[in-house]
């Protein structure tokens, strides 16, 4: 069979983050039914699938936001799902960054405040935190908007600030759930271009949930979640 020239999935054991046979339900509704997935360090992975397939639930399980009902989630050699809530919160703050479709910024705070916030929570000095926030604003072409409240920014500007906030503390993994979902095509493209450029430069692993193939095309590899399971193509189906 003639198939895609896909990058092969990394081999078991070399993953930075991994879900193993994960089940998660909401009430009587199952969202994940034996989902397994591994992401290598530095990899940019897109999780795709129809609405309600469980792709966002999988991302939330990988990020330690949801605890699986069954199965295991591993991060950097540690079993994430077995950690206490306090430890998981700390891990999310220090090792993970998050970008969502919207609603992640504090609208009453300025762009610089929002970017500096994760650093301040990590006990970085105020001066150093704001210096780094200013650096990010310059890098993202938003230098003149540092003092502007994020509630007053355009969608594209706000998503760039959200990206800076997610990456300012140099997380090992960036979790992005429909990061361009509220943006028009061209603005979304700019955000994805920035996200990928910075992730590659910093060696950040990215787990990206999207229903948009053009966004998924920025990733190194994609998987499809369908009916709560991850569909992975075998090596035999991947022709180089």
């Amino acid at each position: 069979m003639r198939t895609a020239n896909l990058p092969a999935a990394p081999r078991h054991g070399s993953f930075l983050i991994e879900a193993r046979d994960v089940y998660r339900s909401f009430g009587q509704t199952p969202a994940l039914v034996g989902a397994s997935l591994g992401v290598a360090s530095g990899e940019i992975l897109a999780i795709m699938g129809p609405s309600g397939s469980g792709k966002s639930t999988l991302l939330h399980c990988l990020a330690g936001i949801f605890t699986p009902d069954r199965g295991e989630v591993w991060f950097d050699g540690r079993r994430l799902d077995a950690l206490s809530e306090t430890k998981r919160t700390e891990l999310r703050r220090t090792a993970f960054g998050f970008v969502f479709q919207f609603g992640q910024l504090v609208p009453e705070l300025s762009a610089a405040d929002n970017i500096a916030l994760p650093l301040l929570l990590n006990k970085v000095s105020r001066k150093a935190a704001y210096q780094r926030a200013t650096g990010w604003l310059q890098q993202l072409g938003l230098a003149e908007l540092g003092a502007r409240r994020t509630g007053e920014l355009s969608g594209g500007q706000a998503q760039r600030v959200a990206l800076a906030r997610a990456l300012v503390a140099q997380p090992k993994v960036l979790f992005a759930d429909e990061p361009t979902g509220s943006l028009d095509s061209l603005t979304g493209e700019k955000v994805m271009d920035l996200l990928v450029s910075i992730a590659r430069e910093e060696g950040t692993t990215v787990v990206l949930v999207t229903h948009d193939a053009r966004v998924a095309a920025y990733a190194d590899r994609e998987v499809i979640v369908r009916d709560g399971k991850v569909t992975v193509l075998s090596e035999a189906e991947v022709v180089r």
């Binding site: 069979m1 003639r2 198939t3 895609a4 020239n5 896909l6 129809p50 271009d193 990928v196 193939a213 053009r214 998924a216 095309a217 920025y218 990733a219 994609e222 499809i224 569909t231 193509l233 189906e237 991947v238």
Partner: protein
Amino acid sequence: MSVPLTLLGLLEREPSHGYDLKRDYDAYFGRGKPLPFGQVYATLGRLARDGKVVPGEAEPGAGPDRKRYAITSAGMAEVESWLAEPAEAEPHLQTVLFSKVVLALMLGRPAERYLDVQRAAHLQRMRELTEIKRKGSMVDLLLADHGLFHLEADLRWIDVTTARLSALAEMVRAS
């Protein structure tokens, strides 16, 4: 891509030698598939025969043909008509894929798997085009966009067909 009409269009800018036309064609439209010189001169010959271009006097210099070609009013009318007329919307782009899916269902083969593999192939091509967009010129970017949007449309069809496979399977088996 219509080579004769594109060459005619390039000639509408100014009279040109075959060499110049080839160079401009390759730069803007060739995209890794340069136009052979033989095809350039054969096309110019046919356009001249049909009264759409006129060759000038042979000029001194190296090379097989040093004539400068100019577009005629008939040629200009043809370019105008071609540019103004919408291209065929090609409603049967999915014929091959559609046939494969239906046949797979008829034969009890894993149609969903085939569609997954096709999706992966499409996404791989989209990855390549996205990389071209990120690193290429504005012309590369526009061409890559065109390819990306077409592939995206195919992917939507693949996704919707995947969601409808059970119903389609029932229909195929019942008939």
